[in-house]
Symmetry: none
Subunit: 205 residues, 2 copies
DNA sequence: TATTATACTGTATATTTTTACAGTATATAA
DNA sequence: TTATATACTGTAAAAATATACAGTATAATA
């Protein structure tokens, strides 16, 4: 994503603030009024630059036809865009920007429980549970899990998706593939962090 | 807060859906297009009623100057609640109300292609493709399919989901389970209707 | 030094859009 | 039966708005 100039950032912020305040984007004239421009073409020129750099899209010929594509402050976007976590870089939080490979427009309430992100499945360890490589598993961030849940656990700074079983200090992370072994963790000697549990999955055909 | 009529609810939902999709509210003409009105004054009349009842506010004289004051949350929204088709009654259209067992809040754009409804998988005929019983397969209504697509076909008034293969007048509907047989149809003697193709699936855990 | 990019002002035209007025039809309430 | 509310169609005018063209000034880059 290309860098914005100082004025372009101001224009983008103006659009975002106006949209949050009113529920609809500003016109060129309104941007002028907010930023002290005397000419609507000043606004038009900046908007075109923002469009070119991928921060907004413009529905040509439509009044107020400005959509925020990339906000410069947070990931707050119009409608729910759930992050898809691919490879998790060592030492980084799961939802760090660098781990998000894309976003998918969908409703966090589409499964029986709400969820926070998708985790992209790598490998075949869960295939006998009908979870294939590249499936996107919907994860709800929680540590409140029980035996039998499909959970996301961070172990030695690696993130893994397995069935959860815990008795006293013994944690077992159980795959669903007879060719894989259960991971056994003695919590007296090793740390493991439950980051969330699965509430569903999606797969593109 | 006053009760809305059925049409007023539809108009409000239309505004909300449009706003979520595009980032800006619709014009009167766009509301007409979505809801099948022929006159912009129909939209205007409903918007004024919604304003009067406190659901929206209108910035007079501004294009798209509609702000949502009170969202209707439990109301069915256009485009956001995808129907789940369970058993299809003989002789009825797939999307007949009687075949819809529930609706799921989700974005029709969450897969690589948009889709129209979910079809609930019955049986194990596709399990080797990772499609399990009770999975919800996202179906795009189309007859434009090619060999290898996973399609919904109506055959002798039964709806089935299989891989598609056609050569001349020979249609093969191929399962993904070695315990099931390919269905072969001679289109000179028997009718089969392609209703749609799969673009993805979801599964609740 | 020349060229390009950025950041405007100014103006104008075409199109979009709002909104008002007039009408019909149906349903509901008094 | 009458009045009111709801739900439109149809039309039109005024205002809003996008966007293109022409120009100037300054900064950055080659």
């Amino acid at each position: 994503m290309k860098e914005l100039t100082k004025q372009q950032s101001k224009v983008l912020a103006c659009v975002e603030v106006y949209l949050n305040k009113t529920g609809f984007p500003p016109t060129r004239a309104e941007i002028c009024k907010e930023l002290g421009f005397k000419s609507p073409n000043a606004a038009e020129m900046h908007l075109r630059a923002l469009e070119k750099k991928g921060y907004i899209s413009i529905q040509s010929g439509s009044s107020r036809g400005i959509s925020i594509v990339k906000s410069q402050q947070s990931f707050e976007q119009i409608g729910d865009q759930m992050p898809v976590i691919g490879l998790v870089a060592a030492g980084s939080p799961t939802l760090a920007e660098e781990n998000i490979e894309k976003r998918i427009p969908c409703d966090p309430n589409m499964f029986s429980d709400t969820f926070d992100y998708f985790l992209k499945v790598k490998g075949l360890s869960m295939i006998e549970a009908g979870i294939h490589e590249d499936d996107l598993v919907a994860i709800k961030k929680t540590t409140d899990v029980k035996n039998g849940d499909l959970v996301v656990v961070r172990l030695e700074d690696e993130v893994t998706l397995k069935y959860f079983k815990k008795a006293d200090h013994n944690l077992e992370l159980i795959p669903a593939n007879k060719d894989f072994s259960t991971i056994k963790v003695d919590l007296r000697e090793q740390e493991a962090f439950v980051e969330g549990k699965s509430v569903g999955l999606i797969r593109t055909h």
